[in-house]
């Protein structure tokens, strides 16, 4: 029997897993399946989807970006303060500002990694702390709160286009752009190549340092946008905004089948992985289990997803000793 090619992909396995998961939770709590709840899941997952896509690009080259939540917080805080200083600008100014700030912060990571050759995990472990400290320093520890935010600022995630809230559009558009960039441009493919075999990439004429810089820069830009959406959605910019997103983003990627050693994984997988986590968090708040057990359930679910994923892959005749050297 011939199975269509799509059905053999990892993304398909994950998709089936998601459907089963939704069905099971839906049986316990029918509200979970309501249209507006799906909406809420999407809205809630948007920021995570963006963070995961940012992480994904870096993971593809075999690096890791732990500074994502700090980049988000710093961008969010600076824009919040900017919005106090210069209120009521059109929304695209703020969005542009977020992209620009993200660009700057991501570029710093990129330059340190590509030029100074500091391993990604160290660079971003460093900037994770540094950017967060900057949030504290620029804000003096104070919030930017709802009443200080102008209308055009807080409405950024909620305005609707074709009846769908903008925050979902942002995530969707970035997803499409990333997918397109990775599949149809040579630069995009060279990101895969760099992560897959750095030496070979150099030999075919890919400037691997440029690639390193590029992924961190892009990761910064996307995180910047995610930071803006985070802050505007919750109408509060705090020192602790977005903590914990670095590992959530890695988890989403890993669940989505991205290799942490670089070179393989798809944006669709990442999207599904992030949606899985989004659905999981949403489900946890809705099925009646003690909130104390949330973390345990979450851990078990992530482990199951990873195990299922690994074995689906394994059964596709991956052979033991052809696996490559580990890189983090």
């Amino acid at each position: 029997m011939r199975v269509p090619r799509v059905m053999k992909t990892r993304e398909f396995t994950l998709f089936v897993f998601l459907v089963v998961f939704v069905a099971v939770v839906g049986m316990r709590s029918p509200r979970f399946l309501a249209v507006e709840n799906i909406y809420d899941v999407l809205k809630d997952s948007s920021v995570l989807i963006l963070a995961s896509l940012a992480q994904f690009l870096v993971l593809l080259t075999g690096g890791i970006d732990l500074s994502i939540p700090s980049t988000m917080a710093l961008t969010g805080m600076l824009l919040g303060m900017f919005n106090i200083a210069v209120p009521n600008l059109p929304f695209y100014v703020y969005v542009g500002g977020a992209l620009l700030l993200g660009f700057v912060l991501g570029s710093f990571n990129g330059i340190v990694v590509a030029r100074l050759r500091v391993p990604p995990i160290i660079t971003t472990l460093g900037t994770l702390a540094m950017y967060r400290a900057l949030v504290f320093l620029v804000s003096g520890g104070e919030w930017v709160s709802a009443h200080e935010m102008c209308e055009s600022f807080v409405s950024i995630p909620v305005v609707r286009f074709l009846g769908i809230p903008a925050i979902i559009w942002y995530a969707f558009i970035v997803f499409l752009l990333v997918t397109f960039f990775l599949t149809y441009t040579w630069t995009g493919r060279s990101i895969y190549a760099t992560g897959d075999n750095r030496n070979a990439a150099r030999l075919v004429g890919i400037d691997t340092r440029k690639t390193d810089y590029l992924v961190f820069m892009l990761s910064g830009v996307i995180s910047g946008l995610a930071g803006l959406l985070y802050v505007t959605r919750y109408a509060a910019a705090q020192t602790d905004s977005a903590t914990g997103y670095e590992l959530q983003a890695v988890a989403a990627c890993v669940i989505g089948g991205v290799s942490v050693f670089g070179g393989s994984g798809t944006s669709t997988g990442v999207l599904l992985g992030a949606l899985f986590l989004g659905l999981l968090y949403n489900a946890l708040t809705q099925i009646n289990i003690s909130p104390f057990y949330q973390m345990l359930v979450q851990g078990i679910a992530i482990l199951i997803a990873i195990l299922a994923n690994t074995f689906a892959e394994r059964s596709r005749a991956e052979r033991l000793l052809k696996t490559r050297r580990h890189r983090v």
Binding site: R31, R132, G141, A146, H147, N282, P291
Partner: protein, 319 residues
């Protein structure tokens, strides 16, 4: 905080204010109060410190360092009532006067605890506030900080007691206690979860500043203003928008400025030997008047203050 650092302090008394974490508006306000008291007292220098995330380990490290610099007094708002006891004992053994404020340390780890208000009073009054808002009937829920937060847990205990004991509350039903971990996104998500799991929900109590703001935003976004009432403990400056728009008609808080102010006075008096901190002892605390140490070494500052549309503007400018 750097400006007070290490300067040749002369004869000045050094009093450290150790808070749950830095970057928290509530404590920044408490610091202002402490500085105000220091100015009045003249010979006091305030060291404001807190870990970068609200953990007991972080506070322990700070206290170890404070012991090393031989400060004269420590006022701490604890992340964990028990974990800090050993290190605070060590501090006291070195002759440092230790009190806790806001969020207490277990007896034995401090000379006295300055409660912003009576724990019982806070817990019970929250329920009453919400009761008034929802007409004393319907399902209610609590959105707290982390499951380990000392003061929140104590308040929740009393909220439950009030619901059980107050006859007016017999038609109010507590359906859930959830935890937003003092993160906007998690608190927001938990609030949404409450709306969905309990379609008949009438009110939410969020006794934490991050939680109440996130819950307010969630209510606003879902168009539930007026349908679900919100109250809790929040900072006026952070909640102004929601109080004015009616999402949260009433919320309570004590004045963190006064808290920092009184803590400084109490420590000053302890260091100077004017007071011992024993039960029944009475401290004179500048503009705050007199504060008396009650049973269990707990001194209570005053009643929580209720913020409404009418007075919010004034306080939002202050803290």
């Amino acid at each position: 905080a750097g400006e007070q650092a290490g300067a040749a302090a002369g004869k000045k008394l050094r009093i450290a204010l150790v808070v749950k974490n830095l970057g928290n508006g509530f404590f920044e306000a408490a610091r202002d109060g402490a500085l105000e008291a220091a100015k009045e007292l003249g010979d006091v220098e305030i060291i404001y410190q807190g870990p970068s995330s609200p953990t007991a380990e972080g506070q322990i490290e700070i206290i170890e360092n404070l012991i090393a610099t031989r400060v004269d007094g420590i006022a701490i708002s604890a992340n964990d009532p028990d974990a800090l006891v050993p290190v605070l004992k060590k501090a006291m053994a070195q002759g440092i006067k230790v009190i806790s404020f806001d969020s207490g340390v277990s007896e034995g780890g401090r000379i006295l605890h300055l409660a912003p208000s009576d724990t019982e009073l806070i817990g019970r009054s929250q329920v009453k506030l919400l009761g008034e808002l929802i007409g004393w009937e319907g399902e209610i829920a609590i959105l707290s900080a982390t499951a380990q937060a000392t003061n929140q847990n104590a308040w929740i205990e009393y909220m439950k007691k009030e619901l059980a004991e107050n006859p007016k509350c017999k038609n109010m039903k507590l359906v859930a206690v959830v935890y937003g971990d003092d993160l906007s996104d998690k608190s927001y998500r938990e609030a949404l979860g409450l709306f969905k799991s309990y379609p008949d929900l009438k009110g939410i109590i969020a006794p934490t500043t991050v939680g109440i703001a996130a819950a307010a935003k969630a209510i606003q976004d879902q168009g539930l203003t007026g349908k679900i009432q919100l109250t809790g403990l929040g900072l006026p400056s952070e909640m102004k928008a929601y109080i004015l728009s009616g999402v949260c008609e009433k919320m309570a808080l004590w004045n963190p400025i006064d808290l920092g102010y009184s803590s400084t006075y109490i420590l000053y008096n302890l260091i100077k030997g004017k007071n011992t901190g024993a039960v029944g002892d009475v401290f004179s605390c500048g503009r705050m008047g007199e504060i008396k140490v009650g049973p269990g070494g707990v001194a209570v500052m005053g009643e929580p203050f209720v913020f409404t549309k009418e007075n919010i503007e004034k306080f939002a400018a202050m803290f």
